[in-house]
């Protein structure tokens, strides 16, 4: 039986000068799984996510995302991932509508305007669509950031420390938007497991650049049978 892996990491390493940040990381995530990536500050969580989101190139090893090689088929990988960092990554001087339209066009989404408008409705930003993002509250920033990360219907969502950028309501919203897609895979780096405990179906723990455990919860195992 061949499982379809959304993310397949083999012997991944990253060095800066003589400092080793990631050291032979092996990780395979089944399509549709929701994994919490835990570990202390500086253990390599952020670097791993930066590599998976094609922002940082690895020193060694191989990564396949949705079946595409990260280094030779980066454009195909980028089409299929959504990235939500601890910063909203929005244009403060554009309006919510302009932000979503811009990112929709950047990803070559068909009919960008109706899609952006539909997203604004779901995110509860419809009434504020013509105001610059800079005047919106933190909560609205967060909602709009979710919209930005999902506007191109990615297959895989990479979350970096959602607890600093996302509150409970945000996670609920994320769930509402994601649940429609059963094959949607999530990898979330966090050091506060309690915040997303009820939501992740597996945890991977990284320590000093090495992946030390990858556990799938009993519940999830049962569900997959």
């Amino acid at each position: 039986m061949t499982a379809t892996f959304a993310i397949e990491v083999t012997r991944l390493s990253k060095r800066y000068g003589t400092t080793t940040v990631l050291d032979g990381v092996e990780l395979s995530l089944v399509a549709g799984s929701r994994t919490a990536l835990t570990g202390a500050n500086g253990a390599g969580k952020s670097t791993l996510l930066a590599i998976l989101s094609t922002l940082v190139s690895p020193t060694g090893g191989q990564v396949r995302i949705a079946g595409y090689d990260l280094q030779t088929q980066a454009v195909e990988v980028r089409r299929r991932i959504g990235v939500l960092g601890h910063r909203p990554m929005l244009y403060e001087d554009l309006t919510p509508l302009e932000n979503l339209l811009f990112f929709a066009k950047l990803y070559g989404v068909a009919n960008p305007r109706p899609r952006a408008e539909a997203f604004l409705e779901v995110l509860g930003l419809w009434s504020r669509r013509f105001e610059p993002v800079s005047v919106l509250s933190r909560g609205y920033h967060q909602r709009l950031a979710i919209g930005r990360a999902l506007i191109h219907s990615p297959e895989i969502l990479l979350l970096d420390e959602p607890e600093t950028g996302l509150d409970a309501e945000g996670i609920e919203l994320l769930d509402a938007l994601m649940l429609r897609e059963p094959a949607f895979t999530v990898l979330a780096a966090t050091h506060r497991l309690d915040r997303i405990a009820g939501w992740a179906d597996s945890t991977a723990n990284i320590e000093r650049g090495r992946l030390v455990s990858h556990q799938v919860s009993a519940e999830a195992l049962a569900a997959s049978r």
Partner: protein, 242 residues
């Protein structure tokens, strides 16, 4: 290929034994040659002796900047920060020797041309070269040496700066030599030199190039060790936190 690399590594291993005495002897020989052996120049007098340093320094500077250029390409291509260390070291040495060229040129120019400085084509392009790589050093010194992104930025700047040199030379030559000049420039190197002068010039060439090489090696090593110390400190700090 492998044996070449191994030989190169072995030769590089002898650098502390070979370079300092060789450089010392060559420099002494150059000074004796320039001050005593070389004949007094008939028209220009004693001040002409400065050219035994001036001309080799110019060549050493260009060589150093070429090393910066090649190492910068290697930084971008191979993503190896060791090349950045070499680029920084060579840039420092290049700027040093360009400064020496400008200074010795001015010392010579004052009695001979009657002015310390003139906006001559060659002087102008040397000054711009000096400014470009001083800027490079400034940019690199303002950023953290372990920051790979700044290293890549510096490498891109060095590449553009080096490729700019021919365009600068072209522009200043059209600008100046199409104009009638009050003083006709003729470097001693361009004239037919008497045999003993030429021999001393070659000696100076060897001495200065060896000196430049030694400086580059010395600076690369200190930079490398400084980087290593910095990394260890960061690692220690992280362990304290963890």
């Amino acid at each position: 290929m492998n044996s070449v690399a191994r030989t190169a590594t072995r030769v590089y291993g002898w650098r502390w034994i070979v370079l300092p005495p060789t450089v010392g002897i060559a420099m002494l020989a150059m000074i004796v040659g320039a001050m005593v052996v070389a004949p007094r120049e008939a028209v220009e007098g004693e001040v002409q002796r400065i050219f035994y340093i001036h001309v080799p320094s110019a060549i050493a500077a260009y060589l150093a900047f070429f090393i910066v250029f090649v190492s910068s390409i290697a930084v971008l291509w191979r993503r190896d920060m060791r090349f950045d260390v070499v680029a920084r070291a060579a840039a420092g040495v290049g700027v040093l020797f360009t400064g020496l060229v400008l200074a010795t040129g001015a010392i010579w120019g004052h009695p001979i041309w009657g002015t310390w400085w003139a906006w001559d084509a060659r002087l102008t392009s040397t000054l711009i070269l000096f400014l470009i790589f001083s800027g490079y050093l400034l940019a690199r010194s303002l950023s953290d040496t372990s920051d790979e992104q700044s290293a890549r930025y510096g490498a891109v700047f060095a590449i553009i700066g080096f490729l700019d040199i021919p365009i600068i030379n072209m522009s200043v030559r059209w600008w100046r030599t199409l104009h009638p000049q009050p003083i006709v420039l003729k470097m001693p190197g361009e004239q037919a030199l008497p045999g003993s002068m030429l021999a001393v010039l070659w000696l100076g060439m060897v001495a200065i190039l060896l000196l430049a090489l030694w400086f580059i090696v010395l600076r690369s090593e200190t930079e490398r060790i400084a980087t290593r110390v910095n990394e260890l400190r960061v690692a220690l700090d992280r362990d304290d936190e963890g």
